[in-house]
Amino acid sequence: MTEKPKSLEELYRDTFSGYEAGVDPGTWERIEAALRAETPAGDASQTAPAAKSAAGWVAGGAAIVAVVVSGLLYFGSPEENSPPAAGPPRETAAPAVSGMAAESPEAELPAIGEAVQETGEPARPSQPAGAEAETASPARQYFTARDEIAPLPSQAIDKMQPAEAAPHAPAMLEEAIRPAGAMDKPEPAVVAVAEEPAPAEFKPAENEGVVAGKMVKKHKLDYPNVITPNGDGKNEIFVVESDYIVTLQVQVRDMNGNIVHQWNNLHGFWDGRLQNGEPAPEGKYLINIFAVREDGEPVRETPLTLILKR
């Protein structure tokens, strides 16, 4: 690995993807107690704990004997270099289904659908969203039925990894940005001025394909065309979202063409402030977006107009 500083996301993902932590002693005993409380009396598993622990002792004794014997064998016959059995290797149980996402999104589809069906049906009465789930998208079904456990989208861990950027990216950006330099001619794609605080006007995402766990794979960039950075928690910032891009460069310019803010990573955003930290005036701003897809293809959005209201 290079010494290059990591982004916050990389740092957290890398640190915690296989992270293990110590557990307080006695935890299993408490879980066991809870399990026993749940099991109806007379259940076979409950019958004779004493007998079980006795069996445990016997097994333990046997194990010790086995180790001693194999140890003796080991030292006794050095030509046999098989080490004493130290138990099965601890499985690393990699939960991240890394890689499988990009390979064949379609292949995952039936399995997921099945799982959703299977796990989704016993919607418990306590769940208010039960009825909703029937008509909803797979993603919705997945989450409303989540109490019944659906597969985990652990795959997605890979998603945001800035994979190899297309080598021609910078050049392409220059190209993409250039037309925006001529700010005098207003873009035809000017968005209608929103008179009232716009209710989350996101471009509709085209849903396409299903990746393991990750229910919906968007093949469009998703961004607001109005932001209202007034602290009410709605449309506070301009962000570009997409699940399939690996690099993202964004420039925010005022109508005179001056750069107000820019970023070159997947997680940047604009909070409606100028570079000096002052709130930017209300009005129109021009946004240039340049992104590279997972497959290396550039995505170029026509320069768009962002409306800022407070």
Partner: protein, 178 residues
Amino acid sequence: MTDEELVSRCIKKDLAAQKQLYMRFAGKMMGVCLRYAGSREEAQDLLQDGFVKVFDKIGTFRGECGLGGWITSVMINNALDNFRKTKPLRTQVEINENIHCYEDRGDLPGRLSEKELLEAIQRLPAGFRTVFNLYAIEGYNHNEIAEMLKIQPGTSKSQYARARMSLQKMLTEEKVTP
């Protein structure tokens, strides 16, 4: 014992198998719970409840994403349940309104320990922490997170942006002041 054997014995509520499964995954799952909890005690509770749910629902395991992945998903769902029950997102206090943009790249000290990263994430308000976990580590998108937490996608986005800024601030400041 293979995963399948272990699972089928757990379905029969075989206590020895249950314990074995627990022993195998407890450390990793504690690692998950710690990220979603505000404290070690809370994580410990999440772990305990989570495992009870694991054994409760193990009959629904279909092997799609591996046993470890499935157990992780039960743990996360359990953490979300707990979050929804105890801390409605709407009542979350908006911390510092005074947002300014941190430059995004290269701010972070190269080496931060697990402990430092954990402490920072645990200091976040529960809503920020949950959204950050789901988005940055688990890899859900904002629409999915909005579904899960019954909030607007925009809320998820702004919570995430704020979580990110708070973390960045905590992690850089901690490094600067020895």
